[in-house]
Structure formats: structure tokens, C-alpha cells
Subunit: 335 residues, 2 copies
DNA sequence: CTGAAAGCGCTTACAG
DNA sequence: CTGAAAGCGCTTACAG
């Protein structure tokens, strides 16, 4: 038989309401009573039944983390899990639990979210950027449900979100290259439609321009972000009649191919050509030489998301819509 | 005002108990009544309050996944998250939710688990192998709490667990090498005390022996599993007076270094030397040429863990203690 | 400062 | 086959 609040009340010689008040730190309880109750709790080794508390309070102290959880997600997108850890850490530090929810099996867009809200099985929902869509957005906004999107949603709305300033990352990349004296640079980006890639490119090109080193169109490349394309594009760049002084890759996968091409061409980094890429993961840690990268602290983004969620729950009238975190440069051996 | 079971009862002209029975598929309900109730549910768009159900049923339909969730875990141990996804998938398919729990902040060993059990906030607990210890084991066994450990616990106990047959993986490695005609082979392992490495090595050496190709002690190496050590050890192996025909590395990190050494020595894979390693992640996908690996399907391990958990919950007297999953060979260009 | 009582929204013996 | 009633273990106005 598990110990209940009634057992504690009996043991302490008070009513259950009094025990409850002690448990919830009401200020109206006399110190003497509080002590007696605490002693009883200690003696009986009482711990409140979380289910009953949740039911009586009409709050779960639980946050759902909505994302894709398919096979190989961990390898294809470790960032997502690092964000998850950050969010977990912040939430658990404030006595919230965190439940996972996969969106990939939804046959109707947004159904898992609707269900989540109507069953009242969480107080709030953190949504990974890859899992947000207009249908979910509408459900959440209509019900005014506490939420945070990780990554800018990609469409205008009243949704709340946290993101890293990717344009600033591009700016930092340009600034670093110019400071090191690399002024003629080729940029290998992802797909034209990729928002993240676009922001990095925009920040990079804009800052180069401000410094007076406009990057010509023929030195701006788009790709499907495969290592193979990074390799081929870089070969092409290196065989230009007038080779650029440096190459910037929009992501790690491109970087693997690019550096292979540079190595095979017999060029030395950074003497013959400088190289910079974005993100410290997943490959730049093991590529040799270690490239200079503009990194984003995704764990911290998760922490910020958790923190914003908690503040929203504590103060529902809070009007903050977004947090933006700042990228940092990690210097390697290629610039 | 959210719709409750009472609203549905009123709408359908029946009692709340009847609605509840319809909701829970009791066979004693007449088809006509069931239809009326379903219509009312449909009309009011009623969804049961999960908190109330959980409280009344004294079960949460929630499983806790216990592990380490610190910064960078996702990069250092993507396997763990892939397992997590597998477990989630299986659990959610059976209408269980899954909550994360980090163990790294426990000041007293096992305190988070004790708390979990006393607050009754889950029906069962899945524990990643890295997070199990004697204190947690004792708590769980004493309370006879539904649990699954991912990976053999490393000490004898009545704990339930799932794991891959790592010795079999070693066996498959040996078999493959011998079949391809590579009979003189060096083995680079992890630390002597590492159980997984030991099992792989044991399986490998044992099978080589059975085939009649005993691996001499001077061709068995131990290491701290860094890429650097893989590199240096391989260089040493390649400069032996009588070079082996193949090298087997116990893990991916060693493999990165080993293959670099082979390449730098001007040897061609697999013409001059054959190479095989374990695990398809995190690096063998991008190493060139792609090595032959013995892979373990960790996602499937998670699925098995989830499945075993569900069967235990449905049938508490189930005596199964362990599942063992089977590794597979993925042929690359190095054997 | 404390307690009796209602209530949170379901489930489940039990009676009919 | 259906329903009245007790119960799950807390919280929280409200009265004193």
C-alpha cells in the first residue's frame, strides 16, 4: 500500500488540506505545524502521487517535444538531439518533464498536435523547425497554446520561436576571411530554396560587399549539399584561370568533399588556399587539417527554448515572440 | 469549457459509466447504445482527458527512457538516440508515451529512479546501458518494477535486458575475411577492460582459430580507441617484416586513423591489404573507400526493448529475461 | 492559522 | 445490457 497524503495527515495530527498546504509552501502555515508535517513526511517516506497532483491541479508539468524520430535521425540530424538535450536540461531544472512526440506518422497534417492539445497531456509544446507546418501553426494559435518553435518557422505568423542569427554567422565568416587577408572568395551554398543556406550566404555576401570585396556571381555556387558535389564544385573552382584565395562552404557535408578536392590538387591549406565552413558537426572534428568553422551552439538554442517556455507558462501574458542566439567562430588550421 | 464524459452521456441519453464502457470497448454494451454514444462523441468532438484517465486507471501509459542527456551527447553517442527512436516508435505504436529522464545530475546514485517509482509517473522504465548501476538495479528489482536495460548490464542480476550478440559480430568478421582468402590478420581493439570490445575480439579470434588460422598475440593490439592510435598502430603493423593480409578494427574511430595510415603507406585497398571494421557509424559512411563493416542495427534494439516492455506490462508474469539481436555484414570496397 | 467539503474527470465493482 | 455510487489522491475556495 503506497503512502498517501491522508496517512501523513493522520501521522502529523492535522488535516489533509494542511499537509497539502505545507507541500505547496503556503505562507499561512505556522512554523510549528509545518515542522510536524515535515517530520511525518520524512518518517513515512511520503512522496506525492504525480498523477493525482496533475489531475487535481489541471496541469501536467509536462512539455512535449515534437519532431521527427525515424530511424537514422540521430545520424542525419544530431543537431536536433542536441537541441532536445538543451531543452530537456532547462525544463527538468524547473521540475517539468519532457515527453517525445513523433510527427512522421501523421496521416492528416497536424493530427498528433490536435490530439495532444485536446487530451491535455502537456502544458506546452516545443516544436523542432522541421516539424512545423501551417496546419499545426493554426491549431496552436487558435487555441493560444503555449509553444516554442525551434528555428524560424519560414512563414510569417504569431508563432513564438528561437533561432540562431544565421546571417550574422555569414557576416562573421566574411569578417574573418577579410581580416586574414583573404578577399577573393568562392562560396558553395546549399539549395537556392534552403532558408538557412540563404541567410548564411546573404550575411556573407553582404559583409564582403561592405568591405569592398564584392563576390562575383560566377563564384557563387548552389548544390544539393552532398560531399560529391562539394568535391566536384571545388575542383571546378580550383581549375579556374584565376583561382580564388579562399573557399567558404555552407555546410559540413560539402566541406568534406571540398577539402578532399583541395588535397588532391596538391594545394596546401591555408598557404595556397584558405577554407572555412559552417557548423562544427558532424565531420569537421575529424577532417584533417581541422577547418575553421562558424559554429552555432544548438544546445544553447534548446536551453533558450526551454527557458522561454517556462517563462511563458509562469506568465501567460508575456509578449516576447522570439529569442535569437549568436554564432561563434572556432579557428582551425585552414585560415 | 472543455467537453467531459458527462456532456457526452447527456447528449447520448445514457449514464457516464456507459460512455466509459463504450470508450473502453466493453463487450457488454448493446450495438445500438454504442452507436448513439459514438455519435454523441463525434458530434461534441469529445476526447477523454488523459490526466483523468491516468489517475482513475492508476496507470500512466507512459514509459521513461533513462539515459545521459548532456551537451554533445548526440554527437558523441548517436547510437543512443537511434535506440531511443526505435523504442519510441514501438511504444507510441501501442499508445504509450515516452518521457526522457537524464541521470547525469543525480547527486546520490539512483535517486532519480527512486523518485520516478515513488511518484508513480510511469508504468515502466527503459534504461540505456550507460545509465545503469548497482544502486538503480537494486531499487528496480526490490520493487519488481517493469524495466528493460539496453545492453547487457555488465554484472549478473535478475535485470531484464536486450543486446546485440557482439561475439557473433566478431565471428562474422572472421568468417568474411577467411572466405575472401584473408587469413593472416591483425586485430586492433579498444581497451582491455571494455566489454563490447572484448566480445568482438573473442568472437573474431575464436572463429579464426576454428578455421585453423590462429592470430598470434603480437598481432592483437589494444588502444584507447582514438583515431590517432588507430593511425600509429596501423603504421606499426604495416612496417612489420611480414605484413598481415588484412586488418580488423574494433570501432569506427580507430578505423579512420587506420585507413589514413594505409593510404599514406601507398597501399591499395583491398589489393595490398584488406580492411574491416565494426559499426556503420559515425564515420564509415564518409570514409573513402567505403570499408566493409559488421553493423548492428541499434534502432532495432530500441524496437525490441519497447516491444519487450509492452509484453511485460501486458503480462507481468512473463519470465523472459533477455532479447539478443543479430549483427549483419555490409560489404564495402575494402575486402 | 486550520479544517470540512467539494471538486478535478474518469473507471470499476456491484446491483439490478 | 445499463446505471448509481464509490473511489482514484490530490488542491482549493470557503468558513471559522
Amino acid at each position: 500500500m503506497p503512502i498517501t497524503i491522508n496517512d501523513v495527515a493522520k501521522e502529523a495530527g492535522v488535516s489533509t488540506s494542511t499537509v497539502s498546504k505545507v507541500l505547496n509552501n503556503w505562507t499561512t502555515i505556522s512554523p510549528a505545524t509545518a515542522t510536524r508535517v515535515h517530520q511525518a513526511i520524512e518518517k513515512l517516506n511520503y512522496i506525492p502521487n504525480a498523477r493525482a497532483v496533475s489531475f487535481a491541479r489541471k496541469s501536467t508539468k509536462n512539455i512535449v517535444f515534437l519532431t521527427y524520430l525515424e530511424k537514422d535521425s540521430a545520424y542525419l540530424n544530431p543537431h536536433m538531439f542536441d537541441i532536445m538535450c538543451g531543452a530537456y536540461n532547462e525544463l527538468s531544472g524547473h521540475d517539468y518533464t519532457m515527453t517525445l512526440q513523433d510527427i512522421s506518422k501523421d496521416t492528416v497534417k497536424g493530427e498528433s498536435v490536435s490530439r495532444l492539445l485536446s487530451t491535455k497531456s502537456c502544458d506546452g509544446i516545443i516544436i523542432h523547425g522541421s516539424a512545423i507546418n501551417a496546419s499545426i501553426a493554426e491549431t496552436i494559435i487558435k487555441q493560444n497554446f503555449p509553444h516554442i518553435i525551434i528555428g524560424h518557422p519560414g512563414f510569417e505568423s504569431r508563432l513564438c520561436w528561437v533561432d540562431t542569427n544565421h546571417a550574422l554567422a555569414g557576416h562573421l565568416a566574411a569578417q574573418h576571411m577579410v581580416e586574414r587577408g583573404y578577399t577573393s572568395i568562392a562560396f558553395i551554398g546549399g539549395q537556392k530554396t534552403d532558408e538557412l543556406s540563404f541567410q548564411r550566404q546573404k550575411g556573407f555576401l553582404g559583409t564582403m560587399y561592405q568591405y569592398g570585396y564584392q563576390v562575383p556571381d560566377e563564384r557563387i555556387f548552389y548544390s544539393n549539399s552532398t560531399s560529391e558535389e562539394g568535391y566536384l564544385t571545388t575542383l571546378k573552382i580550383l581549375h579556374e584561370s584565376k583561382r580564388p584565395r579562399g573557399i567558404v562552404c555552407e555546410n559540413n557535408t560539402l566541406a568534406v568533399g571540398a577539402m578532399k578536392a583541395i588535397e588532391q590538387s596538391g594545394l596546401t591549406l591555408p598557404k595556397d588556399i584558405a577554407f572555412l565552413t559552417f557548423d562544427a558537426y558532424p565531420y569537421t572534428q575529424i577532417i584533417d587539417p581541422k577547418p575553421t568553422v562558424i559554429d552555432i551552439n544548438v544546445y544553447d538554442m534548446g536551453v533558450q527554448a526551454g527557458n522561454m517556455m517556462i517563462r511563458k507558462l509562469e506568465n501567460p501574458s508575456l509578449l516576447v515572440q522570439s529569442y535569437t542566439t549568436i554564432p561563434v567562430i572556432l579557428e582551425g588550421q585552414t585560415t
